[in-house]
């Protein structure tokens, strides 16, 4: 076609069975203005190099699978468009601060372990039965948590966070935002249990408010706010926990 445009992709490849280190590989991808980076990768896999590995699913920015570095910015590849990059090259690598398992696929076991550790469900304050009926929540109570419940676990915030990159014991922005989502829920009663994580050196105190996490979040969760407002909570907890009767946070 006369008006077919070509964009250069540079992808950081890593195949543990043959590569000692990751290596950049270039591809020429014909594209139209509606194509995303993800579609560019799919063109490569379908037509140029079937060995390329990457995660994707919904291709509409809701599943959180396709996070990767596009020109050094943590991005959802399905939501990043080639027309916005052209005529520059598209430099793609796996999400930073995570080990590369293969090509654009990261080892996210650390993230999953942390997710499991924060009691990510509503623990009733008192035992309830069906006769008690449903929880009632005002719009204002919902507003306390709604934004933080939008997280799609895409881990772009972890790629953005240098403190996580420097120390992967740090609980990190997304998980702490989810932790806050439960602590702030009027229906939940497990706040004291979760405060143990918040109050630790690798809890909220690992954050130095770089703030890049909230910039890259595709769902406007604002993890920087979730983490840093809990510094105040943690400080108050630090100075007042002696007066509490429950002994489950030391």
């Amino acid at each position: 076609m006369a008006d077919e445009k070509i964009i250069q992709f540079e992808v950081l490849r890593y195949r543990p069975e043959q590569d000692a280190e990751p290596v950049w590989q270039s591809y020429e991808v014909p594209f139209t203005d509606d194509m995303s980076v993800l579609q560019g990768l799919q063109y490569i896999k379908d037509n140029l190099d079937g060995s390329l590995s990457y995660r994707w699913s919904c291709r509409m920015a809701i599943c959180g699978s396709c996070g990767m570095m596009v020109n050094d910015t943590p991005s959802l590849s399905c939501q990043t468009f080639l027309r916005d990059i052209y005529p520059e090259k598209v430099r793609v690598q796996a999400l930073t601060h995570f080990p590369i398992e293969r090509d654009l696929v990261i080892d996210l076991s650390d993230f999953v372990e942390k997710l499991e550790s924060i009691t990510p469900w509503i623990v009733p304050k008192e035992p309830r039965s069906l006769e008690d009926g449903e929880y009632l929540q005002t719009p204002k109570q919902l507003a306390q948590i709604e934004q933080f419940s939008s997280c799609i676990n895409c881990m772009l915030c972890y790629a953005a966070c240098p403190q996580y990159g420097l120390n992967n014991h740090f609980t990190g922005p997304g998980i702490l935002a989810l932790l806050h989502r439960y602590n702030a829920d009027s229906r939940d009663g497990a706040r004291n249990k979760r405060m143990e994580i918040v109050n630790s050196e690798d809890g909220v105190w690992g954050c130095t408010l770089v703030g890049y996490c909230s910039v890259v979040c595709p769902k406007d969760v604002d993890p920087a706010n979730a983490v840093n407002r809990n510094k105040i909570n943690s400080t108050m907890d630090f100075f007042t926990h002696f007066f509490r009767s429950e002994g489950d946070s030391k």
Partner: protein
């Protein structure tokens, strides 16, 4: 499940925060005045003269202002320097805390002693 130890950081973060407010709302102008405008002669001679400074330091509010500016700025700076070490890839260690917070603690005491030595006049 191993229990995670509670960190003492809230203490130093609180001082850092208070210091940050001081630095944000006072220091840009104060640095301009003491470090640039006065040495370059843009201000009247009496602005930072010995007599005037003794009068300010004799006033209880003057003492408080001087104490807050020096002490809280130090607590703020020192906490950030501690965190910046980590930004450069150096792992957080207790000796760093003792050194840095110890330094700001000593300076705070020195500042307080100096201000208390100066006479008080309402």
């Amino acid at each position: 499940m191993t229990m995670k130890a509670r960190t003492n950081e809230p203490i130093f973060w609180s001082l850092f925060g208070a210091g940050g407010v001081v630095v944000a709302f006072v220091l840009p102008m104060l640095i301009l005045l003491t470090g640039i405008a006065y040495p370059l002669g843009w201000l009247p001679e009496e602005a930072f003269s010995y007599d005037r400074m003794m009068a300010v330091a004799a006033n209880p509010f003057g003492k408080l202002f001087i104490f807050i500016v020096i002490s809280l700025t130090l607590w703020h700076g020192v906490h950030r320097i501690f965190l910046s070490l980590h930004d450069f890839g150096i792992e957080k260690r207790n000796w760093q805390r003792w050194l840095l917070y110890g330094f700001s603690a000593i300076c705070t005491v020195v500042t307080a002693v100096l201000l208390l030595v100066l006479p008080v006049q309402p």
